[in-house]
């Protein structure tokens, strides 16, 4: 239950910070960090909740945009980067990048709350 609420809250707050185009793209690192402090879990779980929250948020958003766009831009970008022109790989990479930053931020938050013994 803790895991799921951490995950959802992470995604929700990241989405909210993303609505303000003037904030840097990595602002969610703070919200993920705070969520991991507020909903305390062990390091591994905290990382996973932080990672999954952003992985799902970013890859689902990318997937929806890409679908409506019929893969026009994603295919081009997946050739520039280069990912062999696969929009699927690009969507997963998007999720992975967001997930890693968020997961590490959550891990940091979890360590801040954790006492050495627990």
């Amino acid at each position: 239950m803790k895991f799921l609420s951490a995950l959802l809250l992470t995604a929700l707050l990241a989405f909210a910070t993303g609505l303000y185009g003037l904030l840097p793209w990595w602002s969610f690192a703070f919200t993920s960090f705070i969520v991991a402090m507020a909903i305390h879990q062990k390091a591994g779980k905290a990382f996973l909740a932080g990672f999954t929250g952003l992985f799902l948020l970013w890859s689902v958003l990318a997937f929806l945009i890409d679908n409506a766009n019929e893969h026009i831009l994603a295919t081009k970008v997946a050739n520039i980067l280069p990912l062999g022109g696969s929009y699927w790989v690009l969507i997963l990479l998007t999720g992975l990048i967001g997930g890693l930053v968020s997961g590490l931020a959550a891990l940091t938050g979890s360590y801040l709350r954790q006492s050495p013994k627990s």
């Binding site: 409506a68 520039i80 998007t94 930053v101 360590y111 801040l112």
Partner: protein, 821 residues
């Protein structure tokens, strides 16, 4: 708190963010900031437009005087209906920005020498090149002069306001894709940028001389003037000029005389040492076709006008289609993102089009400076003070680069001790260019948009100075006309083909030819007018037009031949003609080649390819192998004839043009250049050169055939590059025929950038297509949706509607309402 793991993971998080927030060097370029670029709420994903997006909307623009309605048709062409002219240009600026903002800014950055600012130190030389040409200086000067006309000033300012209103409303996540890729932001648009863009067109269409004059000077020095004049002859036997041969002209209003020292100082009886080629120069193939057929030759009895400007093909396209309707005029055509009004198009009374005049309006003068501070130069017997302008070039990620450019009585010093090629040997070369003289800028097009008849057309084009154009015209009332118009230098023979002495005013331009003497033709007996960048007149014209290499011959020949033979012409006939792939050069050159071939001495493989050449239908259609074989043999022949001699020059020389070699072949003369200079014990003849060419071409062709690329379309491999030359954003391997010397002048990266046909019936029947799409966004389905239609030689029927008709039309898909409150 677990302090050690906390610190490690905190540092790890921060480190990862820093890496993902930095442009990392990969190969020669840099990645975008990956975290930002991939962020679905901020990065490139935001530029992926839903394919079923609606373009309806209500937009408030505070600066509007009245209300503007824009109907977008299914091709995303806006039809602007405004209550006054200024509002129309305001809206045009807004729409250009909405669909083409990145391109508008990028192109003007190129013209202003500001590329290093966005892409880094690689482009410093390019930036210096444009600044040293005086592009900004000229744009400012033109703006000052053109702004004296209140209407032009108001139009360009309203346009800029429209662009800026769009930029101000632009959410950070909505900035165009390329800004995100290169990681920078749009800046404010200014009226000066419109003039910078027009300067870029002047450069593209008139500045071949910046490389050519240097190479021609090298050639004159290398061969000596007498041989030079034979080799690079200005005679063009096949020429069919714009104004027919035999036309009688009044004596020159400006009596030009060559200076007394011309033999020794200029034609080069004294060798003044070499120079090298400039690093850049516009494409040699920049040209165009236009023609108008009078009612006497059409099925309807009304004129038909056609135009296809040949330019470098890019995405986003140079052109943007638009209809502008106000109480003063209703006009449709291709506009330049970056400039208000329509550039090539028609209104409800007339149609117009342009091709490049190709006249030489740019020259070098060899200057003497006191020292490398560039402060004083020797002119007319005294030391004169030069105006030294400081150019500050900002460089992305590096300190600014400061460059100094001296301005003389002739113009800016392009080459000096700090900016040179390996063999300029400390020369100071000042550039004189009509584009530096100011001018009325956009006035001609502003007036053409509103022209009602021939007199309006003539008044409008007489305000045009640079780049010189052949303006073709047709009206509903039945007039057709063509006039070569611009500020053309009154030259003596070969003046300006080479670097000129600049120590006094003897070699200075002696005047600009009055408009009344510029070549013109109205309603000729033959029932058509045309131009295809050939010389505008024969040698009876009382001024020197420029070196023959500036004027391609063959497209003009085939266009005039076809038009002369046509009757009962329809718009469909003109479509077919505009996309025609017949190769009139090959028609002349093939027999000249074949007569040198002794078939019995050929190998089986050589015979096979000669067979293909013989059976070729002389069309450069995509499937024709003969077109490739012909090109391979001809290119090999040019190499066999010229390369050995020309490689001996330490400095780059221009190879003589194709008509010159063809003429040599036709005359079958014993030719000095046919002898391979690298085989001193043997004297090769033209026949030997042809045999060598066939052997080489056979090798090339058989390799092509193995790869399945012998068909012309595969061999030519036309592509439309994104402005940043990024392949995934470009369109590659397009199935389209045509080529150099062909009406469908599509080469690998160059060709008809806008095809337009206008039939002047009561309800105008017009067709158009360009290789691109209305949206500049690579994430839009409207980015390149015209490309396949264009490649197939097809057209769109243009919708040219009154506001009432547009409101009711089912072909108008979206409605944008602009108000000021």
């Amino acid at each position: 708190m677990r302090i050690v793991p906390f610190l490690i993971s905190a540092i790890g998080t921060a480190g990862l963010i820093v890496v993902l927030n930095t442009q990392l060097p990969v190969g020669g370029s840099k990645t975008p900031r990956l975290g930002y670029f991939l962020s679905p709420q901020q990065g490139f994903w935001q530029n992926a437009e839903p394919v079923n997006a609606s373009y309806n909307g209500n937009i408030k623009l505070a600066g509007l005087k009245g209300k503007v309605d824009v109907y977008m048709d299914e091709r995303l062409v806006p039809h602007i209906y405004a209550e006054n002219d200024v509002d129309a240009y305001y809206t045009q600026g807004y729409l250009h920005a909405k669909y083409r903002l990145w391109q508008m800014e990028f192109q003007t950055h190129v013209a202003a020498g500001r590329l290093s600012e966005i892409v880094g130190p690689d482009r410093i030389d390019t930036d210096k090149f444009f600044r040293r040409m005086g592009m900004v200086y000229a744009a400012e000067k033109t703006m000052k002069e053109a702004s004296k006309n209140k209407d032009i000033k108001a139009a360009i300012e309203a346009y800029a306001e429209g662009v800026n209103d769009y930029i101000r409303k632009l959410a950070p996540e909505q900035i165009p894709f390329e800004y995100k890729l290169l990681d920078y932001k749009p800046e404010t648009w200014t009226p000066e940028k419109t003039y910078l863009f027009l300067m870029f067109m002047s450069y593209d269409l008139t500045a071949r001389g910046v490389t050519n004059d240097l190479k021609m000077t090298n050639a004159r020095n290398y061969f000596g003037y007498e041989d030079f004049d034979q080799l690079y002859t200005n005679l063009q036997d096949s020429l069919d000029p714009i104004v027919p041969k035999g036309t009688v002209y009044a004596p020159a209003a400006i009596a030009v005389t060559a200076p007394a020292s011309v033999d020794s100082l200029y034609y080069g009886k004294t060798n003044n040492g070499g120079t090298a080629a400039a690093p850049l120069g516009p494409d040699k193939n920049n040209g165009s076709n236009n023609w108008a057929v009078s009612g006497s030759k059409t099925a309807s009895g009304r004129p038909i006008l056609a135009n296809d400007p040949h330019l470098g093909l890019n995405l986003p396209s140079l052109w943007y289609e638009v209809q502008i309707t106000t109480p003063t005029h209703s006009t449709y055509g291709a506009s330049f993102p970056g400039s208000p009004a329509v550039i090539i198009g028609f209104n409800d009374s007339i149609a117009w089009g342009v091709t490049n005049a190709g006249r030489d309006v740019i020259d070098y003068y060899d200057m003497k400076f006191k020292d490398s501070t560039l402060e004083q130069y020797w002119y007319n017997g005294v030391w004169n003070k030069a105006d030294v302008k400081e150019e500050v070039i900002k460089v992305k990620g590096k300190p600014d680069v400061i460059d100094h450019v001296a301005y003389t009585a002739f113009g800016p010093v392009m080459y000096d001790v700090t900016y040179k090629n390996e063999s300029t040997k400390g020369k100071y070369l000042a550039l004189k260019w009509t584009a530096h003289e100011g001018g009325q800028g956009l006035q001609t097009f502003y007036d053409l948009n509103r022209a009602k008849n021939f007199d309006d057309y003539l008044n409008a084009i007489h305000k045009w100075s640079c780049p010189g154009q052949n303006f073709v015209f047709a009206s509903k009332t039945g007039d057709i006309a063509i006039k070569q118009q611009g500020a053309f230098v009154a030259r003596w023979n070969r003046q300006g083909d080479f670097i000129m002495p600049g120590e006094d005013n003897q070699y200075m331009w002696q005047g600009i030819i009055p408009n009344s003497e510029n070549p013109m033709m109205k309603n000729p007996e033959r029932g058509f007018v045309s131009s295809a960048n050939q010389k505008s007149t024969d040698d009876r014209y009382p001024y020197y037009l420029g070196a023959a290499s500036d004027f391609p011959v063959y497209r003009g020949v085939v266009i005039n031949k076809k038009l002369a033979a046509m009757n009962n012409v329809t718009a469909a006939d003109i479509q077919q003609m505009q996309t025609d792939n017949y190769n009139v050069f090959a028609e002349m050159a093939r027999p000249a080649l074949l007569k040198f071939i002794n078939e019995s001495s050929l190998s089986a493989e050589e015979k096979k390819y000669i067979g293909i050449l013989k059976n070729w239908n002389l069309r450069n259609d995509i499937g024709e192998q003969g077109a490739t074989v012909f090109r391979a043999i001809w290119d090999s022949l040019e190499t066999a004839i010229w390369k050995d001699e020309f490689d001996r020059s330490p400095l780059p020389l221009p190879w003589p043009d194709e008509p010159i070699l063809l003429d040599i072949m036709l005359r079958d003369s014993v030719y000095y250049f046919a002898d391979n200079a690298n085989t001193p014990d043997k004297t090769e003849t033209l026949q030997d050169a042809v045999i060598i060419a066939i052997q080489k071409a056979t090798k090339t062709c058989s390799e092509l055939e193995k790869k399945g690329e012998l068909a012309w379309g595969k061999f030519k491999d036309t592509r439309i590059n994104h402005l940043l030359k990024i392949d995934p954003l470009s369109r590659l391997h397009l199935p389209i025929g045509g080529g150099v010397h062909i009406i469908n002048a599509t080469t690998k990266t160059h060709g008809p950038s806008w095809r337009m046909i206008v039939h002047m019936t009561d309800d105008i029947e017009a067709y158009g297509v360009y290789p691109g799409g209305q949206s500049g966004n690579p994430g839009s389905k409207y980015y390149d949706n015209f490309v396949d239609t264009w490649a197939a030689g097809k057209y769109y029927r243009i919708l040219f509607l009154t506001k009432e008709a547009a409101e009711k039309s089912t072909q108008m898909k979206w409605h944008l309402k602009f108000t000021n409150s």
